[in-house]
Amino acid sequence: MPLKWVFFWQPNAGSTVNSQILNEVSQCVESINGVKEGRWKATLTFYKPMLRDQALSADFPREFIGISLPEQPNKYYFVLRFNKIVLESDSSIQLIMEKLQSYKSRVALNFEGFQYQLGDFQLRVGKVVPSHSENLRGIVMEVLYYYFSSAIEILKQGAFYIFFNIQYWYRLVPVSSCSFLLQVEYLPISSLEKSKQIMVEFSDIWKDAISKRSLAGHFIHIEPNFSDYGLADHYTSQHTAVQYTHVTSQLIASVQAVQTGRN
């Protein structure tokens, strides 16, 4: 499972997000040789309880979110941010929620845009818009690190190169036909801690590239405390779902801050 960091655009004080920034960000990815691959879309839905007595709403979760991710089209994720729960299930759970008639979707946000390949990294740049509307609410960027892609490339080429920062070992196993089997196993960089350094280095390169465009804001990555959700150090799509939930809360907070500033 590749490791992913989700960034969101934080406008400078007094400025707001606009589609020109989104264009500049996309151009920036292409300027550092990002190859456009296609479109992507994730959806985040806020659910609210259908209550008989609204006065008792405090007894129910403050925030109940459902997420569909493009890399897991048959799965669906529920996140209760204040209860620190993330659930992975088949996408049919949405139909069950509909039939239960205890929670209904209040508002849905689409995260959509283009996907780029950049060496061992995959970048997704996207706008955040409410469904049934084109009002830009934010910009997100996903950076996905394919820790195993180099290993696959080597196997494709049929030759064995020793790559810096890939740990490997091999074993020769004689078999009866006097030929031998060469088994190469790679230790993927699966641990969040180990791969963090690679992401930090990428972030520095990215910051350098985007800063040349003098945009009124910057991308922020805030890593949620995954262990609070009972998630292990090995990265999964559940980590991504948690990141989206936290990014969304940050986006809402920054929009509210701008509105408060205006008032």
Partner: protein, 223 residues
């Protein structure tokens, strides 16, 4: 959607039923041990249901968690209605299942669902590929004396096991599936009678003779 019929059989004839199913299926049985947790929405949760004379009722929703090696969320909805549905001997109802990660019980508790009851089903299943994939489940239903204490479960109906025949269906093909399930039930008729859930038909008088016949043939004929 699914098509379903149920019946009961005395435990002493379960072995004969297994021989019969094994013969029909040709594939070995699968063991079944499912901890079933039934949850209901709390008193304040659920949509309003408009009823005649301005009386507003509320929908209490019910969801089941099936826990074996994996966790499955199961919702069984209302049965198909109408004159056509009355005439057929198989119940057609909406059913949705979804596999989920292990913390699904915690999620539903956090959403305001309460434990209604829990069961432990122990037995076996056979699958048959007919017009649809028919699943026959033979199980003893056990209750827990203490919360989640599946190791200390005791049978709800000692000496009696439950048989359930189910098959997935869609609104397009349910007629075919119903016919397939009905004809399949005829194979089992000497041992047990299968009917729509909630329509209890008890054990059949021919069970003892049918079981004896199956058991004596079970070893095959020695020449």
């Amino acid at each position: 959607m699914e098509c379903v019929v149920q019946g009961i059989i005395e435990t002493q004839y379960v072995e004969a039923l297994e021989i019969l199913l094994q013969g029909l299926c040709g594939v070995n049985r699968e063991r079944l041990r499912v901890h079933e947790i039934c949850l209901k929405s709390g008193p304040n949760l659920g949509s309003a249901l408009l009823m005649p004379k301005n009386f507003a009722g509320f929908v209490t929703s019910e969801v089941r968690l099936l826990c074996d090696l994996e966790q499955t969320v199961k919702h069984v909805g209302g049965a198909m209605r109408g004159a056509g549905a009355e005439q057929i001997s198989v119940l057609v109802r909406s059913m949705v299942e979804s596999k989920a990660s292990k913390n699904v019980l915690r999620l539903f508790y956090s959403l305001g669902y309460k434990l209604d009851h829990e069961l432990l089903r122990v037995g076996f299943t056979f699958h048959f590929e007919r017009a649809a994939r028919i699943t026959v489940t033979v199980s003893s239903v056990n209750k827990m004396l203490k919360l989640h204490a599946t190791d200390e479960a005791v049978p709800v109906t000692p000496g009696i096991q439950m048989v359930e025949v189910t098959a997935p269906a869609t609104s397009e093909n349910y007629n075919e599936v119903v016919a397939s399930v009905s004809s399949f039930c005829e194979y089992l008729a000497p041992l047990l009678h299968l009917s729509k859930p909630g329509v209890s038909t008890g054990v059949v008088p021919t069970a003892a003779a049918a079981a004896a016949s199956l058991m004596s043939d079970g070893g095959g004929t020695i020449l």
